[in-house]
Amino acid sequence: MAFREYKIGCWMFGISLSLSMFITIILPGIDISSMSSTKLALEKQLTYGWETGFNYYDPFLQGKDKPIKVTLTKDPKTGVAIDKTEAYVFPAGTHFPNGLTHDNILGDEVQKASVSLGKIDQASEDKGAVFVVSVTSNDTPYMEYATVTRGWNVDATLKASDEQLMAGSGKTLFVREGCWWCHTLLPEQTQDWQSFGRPPMVGDFNGESPTTFGSDRKAPDLLHVGSRNSSREWMVMHFFNPRLVQPHSIMPRYDFLWGDKDADGKNIDLAAWDEQYFAYAKGESVYPPGVPTPAADSEARMLVDFVLNLK
């Protein structure tokens, strides 16, 4: 390189860049990775399954390969009434979240409890599985492989459930539709407590990907939106046309997520709906047209499930 100074410069450059990366990647990586999962992190992993961004199993982000979150009030095996319990059903072939497939995600205590009490090492993706989140006597949360510990298999659990939420599929759509460009999932530590609720804790994210914090808040934070507003009817109307429930909203309409048919199998004609809506908006009619109920397998249903599940 002609001058000795350039050789020295190259060394200095390499050393300073390496040092910078050691301080800003390796050290934080060690620190962050040592954080133990909270109960919330376990629930989120079991709700969202494997990756909710681009991945092999769902390359076009259609909400495939996701577990179903169910609410149980009776034991799927015995039929006996139990306290309201949330279980996470992974039909056969559904991929498990990172915390179940890697030993170093959950944190030592949680990992130990999940294996010894929760028997998670016996679960396999091929056979399908039902999980619940439990807490040990000294308050350590752990994942429990309910198919072994309680005898709850996939079909019986789905059949016995009172409510099924496709929140994992919904999160995939949340990523695909870019909801997170305006709605953050990160109430800030310095304020936001009253409007948007408790900011997340350090262990709340283990195993979740992507975290979709969002950076540019143009709309309310959604981390706890399901606690503020748990009305499915309101959510359905709001997704179909936000101006129906909030005249000043600048949110786009998501009526196309309904697909072709509504829950009753009737065709959805968006153009005709718009015509009636604009007549209402101009004051020519008293009521806006009714919003179709999303079909059980529609993308709209998945997204509403995801939002309602953000407690």
Binding site: F3, S20, T24, P28, F54, L61, R253
Partner: protein, 468 residues
Amino acid sequence: MLKYLFAKEENIPQGTAAIFFGVSSIAWFIIGSGLGSFNAAKLAFPDLYHGLYALQFGHMRQVHVHAVIFGWIAMAFAASMMYITPALGNTKLWSEKLGVWNCLLYNVGLCLALALLWAGVTSGREYSDHIWPIDLYIAFVMVVPWCLNVWMTIINRRTQGIYTTNWFFAGCMFMTVVVFLVGNMPEWLHLTGLNEAYMTWWFAHNVLGLLITPVAAAITYYIVPKITGNPLYSHRVGHLHFWSIVVFYSTPAAHHLMSSPLPEWLKSFASVEGVLILVPAVAYVCNILLTMQGRWSMFVENIEIKFTITGVLLAIPLNMQGGFQQTRAINWYIHGTGWIVAHAHLALLGFSTFAEAASVYYGMQVLLRRKLYSASLANFHFWMLLIGFSLYWVSMTISGLIQGAAKIYEVPYVDVVIAEHPYMIVRWIGGTMVFFGNIIWLYNMVMTARAGDIVPVGRQPAEVAYTR
């Protein structure tokens, strides 16, 4: 372009790669700023384009960002490097043929990448939105051949020393490759949780700090001495700039997540390092402005200097904001508001774009050996860009302050949306002005190639009088 793909190296005229990159960059700037204007319209009037489901805001937002960063900014950098690096090494570009192929595959890759983002196929991580197969393509097909051309040209130079601009080019391209490959680790290794969130911002911070701003600065280190005829004020201050970029700009990534539950030591460290960004910033701005001594009339008379120095002057508020807005004392107020959007546009549409536009204007005239077709159209472009940007920046800053105040006092969010409405309209107008200015620019450049006055051999374009 096609005829050079399979031509022999010696049959390809010097500057071919730079011209192709330059023209592509202007075209992408039109596309990128057009998309920006389109998106901004939806934020002002959400039902304006209702029915165009294929162009949903949530899909088009990142297409705008990546069209501008990878299309306009990066390709303008490539164009600049392909003619400045050999000029400063008193040699030819290492391989024009590689450059031409690089430009073709760059455009193809970018179309593919944007089409996938448009379809919603995304990793869900801001700024590293591309899926990993596209990341691999970007790294090894779009960026590595470009690096090779720059590095090999510098190694084969026919000067003893390496000028400031060329250290920056070589160093920044190296850091870009490292940042790109390391910053996409969450996808290569399926990192999850806070590690993933933090690495997302580590990438976003460093790609801006180690590619976009320093390369723009390096371009001005070339353009200002070259056109004014003044030598660079201080080579040593240039050293200070370069080394403080490497040391201080590569470390504050965590300041993008000040309100997240990252370790407190990391946030404090990042915040302190973030203030130290003022070291390279002050060194750089002083160095360039002092180089202008005795030639300030050119700031008015010469279009390239007008663009460059406007960019450098915009770097002053940029770095003052950047240094302080990330401290805890200020960040809690403006975090996540339109203020940040305004700041990001100050960096990319303000400082960086003005420097690159100057470089593309100058480079095209030198390489085509044609005087710029119309000074009036160039001035029109300049003012459309400057006024459009200023409207955007002022309106978004005000709307950010409104949002910040509403955040602190926990005002119902819909009242913020109502209060921001007029500023959203101004933002749209500003973005649209930039878009129309760029169309004029492309016309002016095409006409320069076709009908510009010939610049005699051995003469600089600045030495030839405008005829229009």
